[in-house]
Each structure stands twice: as C-alpha cells, then as structure tokens.
C-alpha cells in the first residue's frame, strides 16, 4: 500500500490519498495521469490491467486501486 501511495504522490502530490475517495470524480487524477499511473503500476507490481478495468470506480480511491491490483494477482 505504501508503495502505491508513493506512486500516486509522485504523479500528483496535491491529494490526501489515504482518505480521498473521489480521485477521478474531483479531478485529482486527469485521464492523462490515470494512464501514467496505470503504466507505472504495471511496471512496479508486474500486473496487466486490461482496458476494461480502467473505469472511474476502480481508481477513485487508493484502496480501490489497491484491491484491483490484488485482484489481478499483483504483489503490493
């Protein structure tokens, strides 16, 4: 989890990732940043996120991102 937070902060340091649940909806992550994040996650955690899973619900909070990575078999 800490590693993920680190990644997120690297992309946009302005958000409170441990509590925020509207990362996409409130524009803390633009779609560009989202794609950067996905690239980063795939490299760091060795998972492949299929395009169909890149939907706001999966990226609105650090927790849901974490769950997604776990679900896809990533180690974090």
């Amino acid at each position: 989890m800490d590693e993920l937070i680190e990644l997120l902060e690297e992309i946009n340091p302005e958000a409170e990732y441990r509590t925020c649940e509207t990362l996409i909806d409130d524009g803390f992550l633009t779609s560009f940043e989202l794609v950067m994040l996905v690239t980063q996650i795939q490299q760091t955690f060795g998972v492949t996120i299929p395009p169909t899973r890149i939907i706001p619900e999966n990226f609105n909070s650090a927790e849901s991102i974490y769950n997604l990575i776990r679900e896809l078999g990533g180690d974090c």
């Binding site: 946009n12 779609s31 560009f32 940043e33 794609v35 690239t39 795939q42 996120i49």
Partner: protein, 496 residues
C-alpha cells in the same frame, strides 16, 4: 428522409400513434420496420450497408460469446470488416486525392455515403468489443440486434449508444406517458429552434466568410470564428435534441451528447461535455487500450531506459492521445484539415497536461483563482480556444496563423460595417433574430446550470410553461429558415 421535413413530421406522428395502439410486445418490431422504412427513404440499396454490419457483427458476437476464451482473431475480423467498409466508403476519395496530388493523376469515385454509417459502425464495434471482453452476453435475436444498429433517430446524428443501456430501452414495453411525451416534444422543439432559427440562418453566412479568407479578413475572421462555432453547435446539438426528443416520445431514453460544453473551464473538460458519446467511445475503446497496449508499454520501457523515468511514464499517454486525436480528426471529415485539427487539439491537450502541476500550484498559491470572475475568465478562454482550434477545420494550415495575425492587427481599428456585410446575404432582421436567439440559448444554458432557478422554473404554473413552449413554437414557425423563403421581388409580376 431528413429530420427537418414535412415527410419526417408525418412519418413520426403516424409512427407514434401506431406505436401506442398496438400490443406492447410488438412495439420494438414496429420500430425496426419503421427504421428500415426511414432508411430506405434514401434508396433501398442503402439498406444493404447497415444490414451487412448487423449480420456480420451479430454472427461474430454470438460466436465470441459462446467461446470459453473469446478469439482475438475473430474480434479483429469483425473490426476489420466493418471499419473496412467505413474506411473504403468514406476515405477512398481522400486517399485517391492524395495519390492524385503525388502522381498527378485524376482518379475519384462517386459513392454516396449511407446515412449515419460512422455512427452505427462505431456503435456496433463498441458492442463487439464489449462482448469480447465479456461485459455482457451477445444478443441472441438477430432482429433485436438489427434494431439496436439501425434505430432510426440515431441514424442521422448519433448519439453513439451502448448496447447494455439501450437494450432495456428498446425492447421494453412502453405505455404512453403524457409527461414524457410532452417533455420529448419540447426537446424536439428546442432542437428545431437551434437548427432552423440559428444554424440554418447563420450557416450560409459563415460558409461565405470561411470560403474566401482573402475577402473576409480582419474583424470578419472573428465573426467567422464565432459564427462557425455557433453554427456547429446549433446544428449538431439541435439535431441531437430532435433525436433524443423523438426517442423520448417513444419512451426510449438515449445517452446525452452535450452537457452545456461552453461552460467548460478547460479544453479537456470541454471534450468531456461536447459530443460526449463519441469522446466516451474513443476514451473507452481507443485511449485506454492504446495506452496499455504492448507497443505503448514497450516504448515506455525503452524511453525509461534512454531518457529517465519521467519520460518513460509519459510515453503511453502521448501515444494514446495521438491515436485518439488522429481518429477523432479523421472521423469528423475525410480531409487533411480535419487531421490537422485533431492534431492541434492533441497538442493543446498535451501542453495543458504537462502544465497540470503548475496549474495546481498556481491555484493553491492565489486565492483569486477561486473567485467567480476568474472562473468566468477560464470559461471564456476555453471557448475562444475551441473557436480558434476550429479554424484548422476550415482554413488551410498556414492560413490559420495568417488570419489570426490579420485579426489581431485589425482588432483596434477594424469594423464590420462595410460593404462586405451585405455579401453575407443576411438582412438586418436576420442578424437581430440571430442575436436574440443566441442570447436566449446562453441564458437557458446558464439557468440550467443554476439548479435552484431551474427547479423553480419547473415548478412554475402550467399556463406559464405552456405559454413559453407555445412562444418557442411560434418562433420556430415564423422565424425558422425553411421552405423557399420570401422575396418580395419574386412576387413582382414580370409581365409575361
């Protein structure tokens, strides 16, 4: 059949009456028959195109759905076949034109594009990809799927609907609901207002301006730029209003295509609110897949090695963005102008993406950025940026910059009040009608945004609402640009 014709009015009114008088479980069958009738209006041969798409996509999707691991090859076959038809029909002349320029030849073909081919192709390809990914099961009934592909209102101007949302709407049984029918009729009316009073009035004048930049320079560049945007919006959003309103009368809810785009505070936001169904489609089926494609990821790794982590991370975004805008550009029109227009949008979007961090800091640092006037400034800036980018659609690439410079130079001294205004073919009354109706549009947009006021308007007494709608109807009836128009001189008996 055009949405703006007596024929369509008669067709639609007749359909609505029959629709609500037959047994409800046959309603969708009637819609399919009506859709094919509507489509055959342009010549029965054209029916073959949506039928081919319907059949091929239906078959492939059924097959994909039945497989334990859906075959990628099969998906590609479906995509290539249907995008192939679209590409051949829409872009052959563009390709030949380029060939001609290189080789000095003179080839061209004169195919007439089947109505709405871009819309229904994109819509059915979305369906195919969704089925491939297992988002939902393939539709077993061919006739039902045929209705999804060729439901007549969307055949003229979109929106690009999604199957999972549409199937509940299309195949459900609908009982007549006076409120829904009345709202649908109002929606259609606003569409006709945008189209007939605004778009069809300003269209010819704007076409004249943008067709001859050497005649219409200086302040006319600004007039053309603003007018073009008004024209595009009124024409497209008006068409969509008619489509969505018509569907609503039949009890069918469609996805929205515009969400007051001119209230956007950035270009990225603008593109989430303008032609939403296409942009959504591109985001879902192009942007994310392109970003996570093997090619993107390999490039990212390579860039990371060569230029560092930051660069590597950005590579997929750049690739995905470029792909989306190339497609968006060429989707809008088969010419280099549209390609350049797409790329120009892409460049602006990438620059602003690069500056996201700076913006965030800027906003945090200065309190005034939260003020209302600053928001207004952002809205105006975004609007002008969009208008300016549209220039790439209608001027040759270099002309855009020349005309921009020309416009800037004339801002201080230029005036519209010279003989050129007469060349545009609009009378004083037309300009006045345009001004009032555009203001009306802006006002209604602002009011819709103010939740409290719009709620109060909805609660206003019935007679007031009726008066407003009837007033709008009269405005369309009288000041709409339709029929052969009236010129007193035509009616002067010329003695023979």
């Amino acid at each position: 059949m055009l949405l703006v014709s007596y024929k369509f009015a008669a067709f639609f009114a007749g359909l609505a009456v029959v629709y609500y008088s037959i047994p409800r479980r046959y309603q969708w069958v009637l819609l399919l028959a009506a859709s094919y009738l509507f489509y055959a209006g342009g010549g029965p041969v054209y029916l073959l195109y949506p039928m081919a798409t319907t059949l091929s996509v239906w078959l492939i999707a059924r097959r994909l759905s039945a497989m334990e691991r859906p075959s990628k090859r099969l998906l590609l076959l479906g995509l290539l076949l249907n995008f192939g038809i679209l590409a051949v029909l829409k872009y052959t002349n563009f390709a030949l034109g380029n060939l001609n320029r290189l080789a000095g030849t003179d080839y061209s073909v004169s195919w007439v594009l089947p109505l709405g081919i871009s819309y229904y192709t994109f819509q059915s390809m979305g369906y195919l990809i969704d089925v491939y990914h297992g988002k939902y099961k393939a539709e077993p009934n061919l006739a039902r799927f045929a209705l999804f592909v060729s439901f007549f209102p969307q055949m003229t101007a979109g929106p690009i609907n999604r199957f999972d949302a549409m199937k509940q709407e299309l195949f459900a049984e609908h009982r007549p609901d006076s409120v829904r029918i009345w709202t649908g009729a109002q929606r259609m009316l606003t569409g006709y207002f945008k189209k007939l009073v605004i778009a069809d009035r300003i269209g010819p004048a704007v076409s004249a301006i943008i067709a001859s930049p050497e005649v219409f320079d200086g302040p006319y560049v600004l007039l053309g730029m603003l007018g073009y945007t008004v024209w595009m919006y009124a024409d497209f959003a008006g068409g969509i209003d008619i489509v969505i309103g018509a569907a609503q009368i039949l009890g069918i809810r469609m996805t929205e295509n515009f969400d007051r785009p001119f209230a956007s505070r950035s270009l990225a936001e603008f593109w989430r609110r303008w032609h939403m169904s296409l942009m959504q489609w591109l985001r879902e089926y192009i942007f994310f897949p392109a970003a996570s494609s093997r090619f993107s990821q390999k490039t990212a790794a390579l860039f990371q090695k060569w230029f560092g982590k930051k660069c590597g991370r950005k590579a997929p975004v750049y690739i995905a963005n470029l792909t989306v805008w190339l497609i968006a550009g060429i989707w809008h029109g088969a010419s280099w102008n549209f390609v350049v227009w797409g790329l120009a949008n892409c460049v602006v979007m990438l620059i602003s993406a690069e500056l996201t961090g700076v913006y965030r800091k800027f906003r945090k640092r200065f309190a005034f950025t939260g003020r209302k006037w600053y928001r207004c400034f952002e809205v105006v800036r975004t609007f002008l940026l969009f208008c300016w980018l549209e220039m790439f659609e209608y001027y040759p690439f270099m002309t855009v910059f020349a005309m921009t410079a020309n416009l800037a130079a004339s801002l201080a001294s230029g005036s519209l009040a010279d003989g050129r205004l007469q060349l545009l073919g609009l009378e004083r009354a037309d300009w006045l009608a345009l001004l009032i109706s555009v203001l009306l549009l802006v006002l209604s947009g602002i009011l819709t945004g103010e939740k409290r006021i719009s709620a109060r308007i909805r609660r206003s007494p019935a007679w007031m609402q009726y008066a407003a709608v009837f007033g709008l109807f009269l405005a369309v009836l009288i000041t709409g640009v339709y029929g052969r128009g009236y010129e007193a001189s035509q009616f002067i008996y010329n003695q023979f």
